[in-house]
Symmetry: C2
Subunit: 399 residues, 2 copies
């Protein structure tokens, strides 16, 4: 794209959209202009940004020949899918931050962008301001990846930080996060690990060349974490962190999961606090990388969006090199056993999990826990029951 | 570059050169072939890699029409300069890891690569496997940078880690680093902050668009750090880290310096241990980023070299966008005062530094120290004397 000023058509004017508009005013050198903004409710927005042209009709952007690029920043995943698809079909490059939409439609959109030779960039979708996707695509693209592990959700990490650093109760931390506007309108997206799961699906495509449908992954969050669990973590001098993990296994298999982990003090992730995200990337040759940055908020995320817009200016696109590798791609598998902390109320709860080995066992009048070896596929199979029985599970690797 | 196999001409076959050769065997998908290796002493290398073609004549590489790209990995900065210049003049893209050479010749080489429209990449030169330059160039290129601060030298960080974590004496830690081959043949490059200084000069070009000749910067290392300094740090619950710092000041000024810092526990850099490098990048919009990775060693660095080689395949080059910004570039300045810990033996030593304020003062029969406000320009002026008098200085920011 050799044009001087880039005219963007923006969908959505929430926290990130407004952040982008402010950022563009502060960085005139970027030479990016918001030509039109498409929102659901005109009345709500016109007052706050009188200089912008608002519309409710997507076609007013998609069919405007003066628009060079579409930026999609709306909440609704289904509507976002149609916007992104519609843009690519018209050879309009798109920048999107919608992880839920991407996690469900990536294969089709990758094909479409290839067919239409039109860029689709989405670095803001995973880990806000941390350039994880871009670095996996370009910088670590020749190494043999071993694992990608990290705190992928800022809101739940904020809550966990308040509990473990400031000794707030779970309920108070949740209340504070809500007051600060850190939680999505549906907080289970953050707290039950869905948001992390969508991001992990995206990262696995770039790190390992493998796309896995979100529903095939086990995800488990911190909604049912209680004071007993917090006490257990403190006793062991660990902190509970909600982690997404993609890891190569023997026999060229790949496992993906999102769940709480009991993290020991000597891990980088232990010190990644508040609304920050932190990702540890391991490769055969470069060893261990750790990237930390703000994972939420209008300014950090809009800064990532602007990086994508600028990249399109110099004709950058994701190459999905690992997806098209000549060596056989790893196969997704949940068939992995690991050491976990399990908290529950009855023996029957423990039986449900079919532990392969039990290392520790505690029971009191109020609750029980076990440290046991369990299988990820089994957890995936009984996920609904775990939640129904208000059990709590956290990976508990030996030191 | 659309050729399938890239034929590289490699200069130097030390730790990184050998690492690259091994890496290329492990990653055949990269499709990069070492066509020729130019070394100073043929006899030393031919035995260890019989499949490679060795030469001692640079022209055999530079004038070979079958070579697509030059990789320069030698120690000698002057010779490296001529190799890089010679390559660019012949329109041969170059990848180099020679920070000392780059720190001294960057402006000329930037002009030359522009004139010859030939890429010069050097991400491996600063922070080994951490893609700092690439991220500053591309990902954070639209943000208003505030500062870049970090552990830029792995060897000195290894020594400091052994002292502060494993309670080794300074002398023992130095010995261990030497035994493990972590120190350059001239260890003052690592320990006195020269290596960090060269990297900082390079980073400032990409973060702020400003080139500053290395001799204009104040650098000070850990050679004269002694047990009194270590005790002081431990008493204050801090760790001494050797940090490079580039920071925007009011009035569009920029300060650059390399010196020990007393780092408190709540900083990311506090936990960056052993031979790892860690860089904190602050921007107006994305906030704070922290990148950690191995800063030394054959495999991590060669992995960074291969990333640059691959980038040249898809015609990537540094844009030096900030250097060519329309807004006025910041002016380099040493005129900044800051709080520091100073350890010395006589009152006269303290007078030499012309402290602007003294906050703490200690004296015993063996040594004295002060916590005082001092000026960076003054330190630069009296640097040789500081070393002669075996004084120690560390930035000591309030918590």
């Amino acid at each position: 794209m050799s044009k001087k000023t880039i005219n963007i058509g923006l969908f959505g004017f929430g926290v990130v959209g407004r952040g982008l508009s402010e950022l563009l005013q502060r960085v005139p050198e970027a030479d990016v202009r918001i030509a039109k903004v498409c929102v659901r409710n005109m009345a709500r927005h016109q007052g706050e940004a009188p200089s912008l042209h608002f519309t409710t009709d997507p076609k007013e952007i998609l069919d405007d020949p003066d628009i060079d690029l579409v930026v999609e920043l709306i909440d609704d995943a289904e509507a976002a899918y149609h916007i992104v698809k519609g843009s690519l079909e018209r050879c309009l490059p798109v920048v999107t931050g919608n992880k839920r939409m991407l996690a469900h439609h990536l294969p089709e959109l990758i094909e479409l962008q290839k067919e239409m030779k039109t860029a689709l960039l989405y670095d803001a979708s995973a880990c806000g301001s941390i350039p994880v996707i871009r670095n996996l695509e370009e910088y670590y693209d020749n190494d043999l990846q071993i694992s990608v592990k990290g705190i992928l959700n800022g809101s739940s990490n904020f809550i966990l930080s308040k509990i473990f650093n400031d000794h707030m109760s779970h309920a108070d931390a949740l209340r504070l996060a809500r007051e600060l506007g850190f939680l999505e309108s549906d907080p289970t997206l953050d707290l039950d690990g869905w948001d992390s799961l969508f991001k992990l699906v995206i990262l696995a495509v770039h790190a390992f060349g493998v796309y896995v449908e979100p529903e095939r992954l086990f995800n488990f969050g911190i909604t049912h974490m209680n004071d007993d669990d917090i006490r257990f973590a403190n006793e062991k001098d660990r902190r509970i962190k909600l982690l997404g993990l993609a890891e190569k296994l023997p026999d060229n298999r790949l496992t993906l999961s999102v769940m709480p982990h009991l993290v020991s003090r000597n891990k980088y992730i232990y010190s990644c606090e508040d609304e920050f995200n932190g990702v540890v990337i391991k490769g055969r040759f470069y060893g261990k990388q750790f990237l930390v940055g703000r994972g939420a908020g209008g300014h950090p995320t809009s800064s990532a969006v602007l990086s994508d817009i600028s990249a399109i200016r110099y004709d950058y696109f994701y190459r999905y090199k690992r997806m098209h590798s000549e060596t056989p791609l790893p196969r997704f598998s949940n068939d992995i056993s690991f050491r976990a902390y399990l908290r529950f109320t009855s023996d029957d709860d423990l039986q449900l999990l079919q532990p392969e080995a039990i290392y520790e066992r505690y029971s009191s009048e109020t609750h029980q826990y076990a440290v046991a070896r369990i299988n990820l596929q089994r957890l995936h199979d009984v996920r609904a029951e775990l939640i129904e029985r208000r059990m709590f599970i956290a990976a508990y690797p030996p030191d």
